[in-house]
């Protein structure tokens, strides 16, 4: 469903992504790991359509369409979801209103009628239970005054509501205690179906104890330097990133 070819991108003239290729098939979970500053979040931003990132080369096709030519909201309506590393607060806008607008915009895009108020509230209730989000959170303004953990759970809740085809979770595990981590991971596992895919960006192996990836990539200095099965995550956890760095440097010398 997603085919990234030789993607290069820069921010304010500084080259961040230096030629990334990645192929994601329906139903797969890809984990992207890597040290700080390797370009993980930039990759997520490019896929979601943030404008401050300049694409300098490469292509991204999404179900055969040119993803880079689509607006951020069209990507969302076509089923791309970004779980933010730092979810944004929108004071005064209730979660109900926010989600109703989002869900109905997406339905409109696909030629469906908007949900009635009662159907919508029913859907909210179901999804809240599914991801074990406190029902009070849904009555508050979007992320306003939420704790770090609540914000992340709220991202998973929104993901459940929007039922994306491709969800990109940008360090959703950072700053979570073990209970919150379990709730977030369970949410992902419940939403997971045979035809939707996940790109899980993470710094640590521990999230991958709960969300089992099909493929693990290591991103370093703007390139994917290693791709392997789930056992790669364990190796990274045990040995750190230094050996990868060394390998890359040796390759360059060789």
């Amino acid at each position: 469903m997603l085919d990234i070819k030789n993607l290069k991108a820069s921010i304010a003239g500084k080259s961040i992504l230096k030629g990334i290729s990645l192929h994601v098939k329906p139903g797969e979970i890809h984990a992207i790991m890597g040290p700080n500053g390797s370009g993980k979040s930039t990759l997520a931003s490019v896929l979601a359509g943030r404008e401050y990132v300049d694409i300098t080369d490469g292509t991204v096709s999404y179900f055969g369409k040119d993803l880079l030519g689509m607006s951020a909201e069209d990507r969302a309506k076509e089923g791309i979801f970004l779980g933010f590393q730092y979810p944004i607060e929108i004071p005064g806008v209730s979660m109900v209103n926010f989600m109703k607008t989002a869900v109905n915009e997406k339905r409109k895009h696909h030629g469906m009628d908007p949900l009635s108020a009662s159907d919508f509230l029913k859907l909210m209730r179901e999804k809240k239970e599914l991801v074990e989000i406190d029902s009070k959170l849904a009555n508050r303004s979007v992320n306003e005054g939420f704790s770090g953990g609540e914000k992340k759970k709220n991202e998973i809740f929104q993901m459940a509501m929007l039922e994306p085809k491709l969800a990109i979770l940008d360090e959703t595990d950072s700053g979570l205690d073990i209970d919150a981590l379990r709730i977030v991971a369970n949410g992902v596992n419940k939403i997971k179906k045979s035809d939707n895919s996940f790109i899980v960006i993470t710094h640590y192996q521990r999230l991958l104890d709960y969300i089992v990836p099909d493929v693990v990539h290591v991103l370093y200095d703007g390139r994917i330097v290693k791709t392997s099965g789930k056992e790669l995550a364990l190796e990274l956890e045990a040995k750190g990133y230094d050996w990868i760095k060394k390998e890359v440097e040796n390759d360059v010398v060789a």
């Binding site: 929108i90 926010f98 607008t101």
Partner: protein, 480 residues
Amino acid sequence: MDQDRILDEVTSGEYKYGFYSDIEAEQIQKGLNEDVIKTISAKKEEPSWLLEFRLKAFRHWQTMKMPAWPNLKIPAIDYQDIIYYSAPRQKAKLNSLDEVDPELKKTFDKLGIPLEEQKHLAGVAVDAVLDSVSVKTTFRETLAEMGIIFCSFSVAVKEYPELVKRYMGTVVPYTDNYFAALNSAVFSDGSFCYVPKGVRCPMELSTYFRINAANTGQFERTLLVADEESYVSYLEGCTAPMRDENQLHAAIVEIIAEKNAEVKYSTVQNWYPGDKDGKGGIFNFVTKRGMCRGESSKISWTQIETGSAITWKYPSCILRGDNSIGEFYSVAVTNNYQQADTGTKMIHIGKNTKSTIVSKGISAGKGQNSYRGLVKVLKNASNARNFSQCDSLLLGDKCGAHTFPYLEVDNQTAVVEHEATTSKIGEDQIFYCNQRGISTEDAVALIVNGYAREVINKLPMEFAVEAQKLLQISLEGSVG
């Protein structure tokens, strides 16, 4: 860029009420002097006491200067270049007194204000004012059955001179300020309402102000009296044609609430704001004040200010009765080159008086938005309470928000609280919405409506939806 395109599209076509109706008008000569005032008074067949009042006001006005303290840039106004009286000429052959010229009816139909009672929103009575005169007041008879008087100011002067004489100028004396003095000299019509003791007015009363003729000013007065234990909810709306020249609107609203009475006064102000380059638009210089005369009385102002090139108004409450309550809820929008200096005064005189101020300014384009508020607690106002909250929301980086709160507290037992915030609709917020499939336009509308919700919720239900749409239209395209 996309942003410029949207901005262009919207600012050039957004004002829906900019049309002009070709209605034959009876006008007097341009200019202002005692003869003009005598002419206006004579046209309205006024009693001599009212002419005296006008002349005294005019003489006082001549000694005054335009206020220089507002945070506004007001171009010089030539008061001799304004027509002070313009009345649509009604076709002579009307079958009954209640009938309205079809051309006028069409104008108000176009504004969404049908003048036939059966067609109108259930539960809303309207006084329709075009330029200098009231053209029709609906539901007069229905209301009269309950003893409620609702009519144009001119009719009130003729039919209820004692009531008008007793209350007019008691809350806003003609000496109050420059524009109040001007209005007192030349006012031509407006609405009058009296709700008798113990009566709860069963419908929303409203006045719809329309400026139509060119080169005219609109100077209307509204007087609202709620006798003991009564209740009334009142709404005013206003629009004007799009023109390159500025037009002056200087009104007075006076409210009197007796013991245990409650008055809710809502405004949806949508005067023509001028074009995107700041050309044209209405100067809206208005004095609005309510007096809580009796104990435990309550006056509540709600205003949604989206129009006008320049707004200068401070709907205020004088809390004279013990335990009386004053409220002010405001959303003021300035887009393009609009300027607003608006807020309120809460004067605590009685004991245990309470006031609440919630002001939400929204600035976009090159708009300048100032909140100016006074909370004054007099010596005898023990246990007075005030809570003020002034928030500013900025869209873009070429607009401005300013806050000028004044506190004068002469009683030790008073508790006065003031909170203020300034926020900006950030790119991050917009992107967050975009990523959930919400377009930028819808995201701005969501955020602005969320921000203004507390105030919009205070409007009568029928108008809350309208106000929400109006906010959206006023700001469309201001963030990209």
